[in-house]
């Protein structure tokens, strides 16, 4: 609007008048935006904030990790406890991302393609892990599976270990990460509607063929986007996992838990070495996220009639 208006005088002026009007416009301050100094201050505040709160800590992590040299860095990472923490973290991430991928697809499918009672409730419940403190999430599992919990005694008598073991850590991680895939897919699938699926069915495709040949290709970038964010959170989760893990060294410590333990023991190089891996994961996630968002945008644009 403002753009149009500022051009108006030039357009309506006659040819020779316009020529004399142009330098006048160029010399004048551009009124569509703030004056230069104010713009500079606003940008400077934003950049400084990001530097102090994001870039600096990131740099510190790597600086600390390498403070005793590369040798110390790699020996810290090849410590059996560190290796065990890395293995456990990867393992838990693989399981919880797979589970949440399936759950997210099913939930997004149900919400986007069917109408049923309680749909609004389901949509709000999917967001619950975002609004609940991870510590509470962990405690819920203690209440359910702990020695004094609802199912604890029964599980104990059948020699099944959930708490202070991999199943408990996985459950807590699944809980805190389950909104990611569903959240990425629901708006995408709602926007796409059901017409392409109907077309596939009317052309004789089975339910599975329709899913793999029509639905999935249409949402693949959204799926990857959800999986990426889900994975980042699964590997980095601290609060919920801390409550259910029991902190058994070399057994139930994930990378974030291991970082905390080492830090509390003043083993800064070792703590920051593992922290640097998590930081690298964050950077890779960031780059991948940017690429995926570009693909998602393209999908959006190619859709219009």
């Amino acid at each position: 609007m403002t753009f149009e208006m500022s051009l108006q005088p030039i357009r309506t002026a006659g040819p020779d008048e316009a020529a004399s009007a142009l330098p006048l416009y160029a010399a004048r301050e551009d009124l569509r935006t703030e004056p230069g100094p104010i713009r500079f201050v606003i940008i400077a505040i934003a950049v400084m904030f990001i530097t102090v709160f994001v870039v600096l800590p990131l740099v510190v992590v790597f600086a600390q990790a390498f403070s005793k040299g590369i040798g110390a860095y790699f020996s810290a990472l090849s410590d059996p406890e560190a290796l065990s923490a890395i293995r456990l973290t990867l393992w838990v991430a693989v399981i919880s991302v797979s589970l949440n991928l399936v759950f997210g697809l099913v939930a997004a499918w149900a919400i986007a393609k069917f109408d049923f009672r309680g749909k609004t409730l389901l949509i709000s419940l999917i967001d619950l892990p975002f609004s609940v403190s991870p510590v509470i999430a962990g405690l819920v599992f203690v209440l359910l599976f702990g020695a004094q919990g609802y199912w604890g005694p029964w599980l104990q008598s059948h020699n099944v270990h959930v708490l202070f073991a991999v199943p408990g850590i996985t459950l807590a991680t699944v809980f805190v990460t389950f909104p990611f895939v569903a959240r990425a897919l629901i708006p995408l699938m709602q926007e796409q509607g059901t017409q392409e699926e109907e077309a596939a069915i009317s052309l004789g495709a089975s339910g599975l063929q329709t899913f793999f040949r029509v639905t999935l290709p249409n949402i693949k970038w959204g799926v990857l986007y959800g999986v990426l964010l889900c994975n980042a959170r699964a590997m980095g989760e601290f609060g919920a996992v801390s409550v259910v893990s029991g902190h058994i060294r070399g057994e139930t410590n994930t990378m974030p838990l291991q970082v905390e333990i080492l830090y509390n023991e003043y083993q800064f190089v070792a703590a920051f070495a593992i922290a640097s891996l998590l930081a690298m994961l964050a950077l890779i996630t960031l780059v991948a996220k940017t690429i995926l968002e570009r693909h998602l945008d393209e999908g959006q644009h190619s859709r219009g009639d």
Partner: protein
């Protein structure tokens, strides 16, 4: 495509409710084999729902659908041999035009699936049929609306359907492309001679393209007939008002005759029952004569000319209503003229219809 035998469709007493809203309220319809039928009605009349039920994309609450006497409701959409063209085309956006058309052939069970060479030949044949073979490698987003529509049609025909169903086939296109595609669809239908039903809210489209027109309103069929029949002999007030331009006057029918604004009109009752009624006259069926002639009197307020006709706004002396009439240009009308009007043809329907 040659050699496929056209199918007759029969729909009996179909009821379909969405919550409390009856989208279809007891619909009966017979479609002869090889026919090109239009379902015409305003939005919410149930025409698209009926089409989707025939296709198997919606299920009726009660009623029957048969193809050549076989129960169609016992089969899913993919097993009915129905080609469906969606209003917004619903092309697979991540596939090329070629793969879109090939889709129906590729998803066939392995036992009956054609080999790759025959699939390619068939897709080529279909793209030739819709005259878009040069677009085979494009994606749907790179096509114009008219091209997408034709690709959607080619895709639907790929599975050699026995019936072709089209939902608002020209709805999203601009006027010129629409006109071309109409003629093209007619030509295509006479070439492939497949039982076809299309849904439209555009009366001109229905009258121009179809062999027969089904006029629907509020989940019921108002009239079924050839384009000539529904235009010249509308069965209900709704059809008279919906198809063609009509003048509607509120009248009272008594034993003695027809009264407008308390004054008797010189018109035969034509068997209409007594009570509050509506008089329907086509704009061009109102004959203009000198003052004092005809059943109605009025003063011309404004005249516009469109090619061969002049359209005049006339204020009736009986009740001051302003009506629009279309008169030939053999006698020029001017604002201020007092004229007599005589309906050449008219229909009287009870007011509640």
């Amino acid at each position: 495509m040659k050699g496929s035998i056209p199918v007759a469709i029969e729909v009996r007493n179909i009821v379909k409710k969405f919550g409390a809203f009856a989208a279809l309220d007891g619909v009966d319809l017979k479609v002869a084999n090889g026919e090109l039928l239009a379902l015409l009605g305003p939005s919410g009349s149930g025409k698209t729902t009926l089409l989707r039920i025939i296709a198997g994309l919606d299920w009726p609450d009660s009623g029957e659908v048969t193809f050549d006497g076989e129960d169609a409701l016992a089969r899913g959409a993919g097993e009915r041999g129905v080609g469906f063209v969606f209003q917004h085309y619903a092309l697979f956006r991540h596939m090329t035009v070629f793969e879109n058309v090939a889709f129906g052939l590729r998803v066939q069970p392995r036992a009956v699936r054609k080999d790759e060479a025959r699939i390619r030949a068939r897709v080529k044949e279909l793209l030739d049929l819709v005259q878009l073979d040069w677009l085979a490698d494009r994606y749907p987003s790179q096509l114009s609306g008219g091209q997408r529509q034709r690709i959607a049609l080619a895709r639907a025909l790929a599975i050699e359907p026995r019936i072709l169903l089209l939902d608002e086939p020209f709805g999203a296109l601009d006027a010129k492309v629409r006109k071309e595609l109409r003629q093209w669809l007619r030509a295509l239908h006479s070439e492939i001679n497949m039982t076809s039903i299309f849904v439209t809210h555009d009366q001109e489209e229905a009258l121009e393209v179809a062999n027969r027109v089904v006029v629907m309103d509020k989940g019921r069929i108002e009239q079924i007939g050839t384009p000539g029949e529904v235009y010249d002999h509308p069965a209900t007030a709704f059809v008279h008002g919906f198809i063609g331009e009509s003048i509607v006057l509120p009248v009272d029918v008594t034993d003695g005759g027809v009264r407008l604004g308390g004054k008797a009109l010189d018109l035969a009752v034509n068997g209409a029952s007594a009570g509050a009624s509506r008089l329907f006259v086509r704009r061009h069926d109102m004959q203009v004569g000198p003052p004092g002639s005809g059943a109605l009197q009025g003063a011309v307020q404004r005249v516009r000319t469109f090619g061969p006709i002049q359209r005049a706004e006339v204020a009736l002396s009986a009740d001051k209503t302003v009506i629009e009439i279309d008169a030939p240009r053999d006698r020029e009308l001017r604002a201020g003229d007092i004229v007599g009007l005589q309906p050449r043809r008219y229909r009287i329907f009870a007011a509640r219809d």
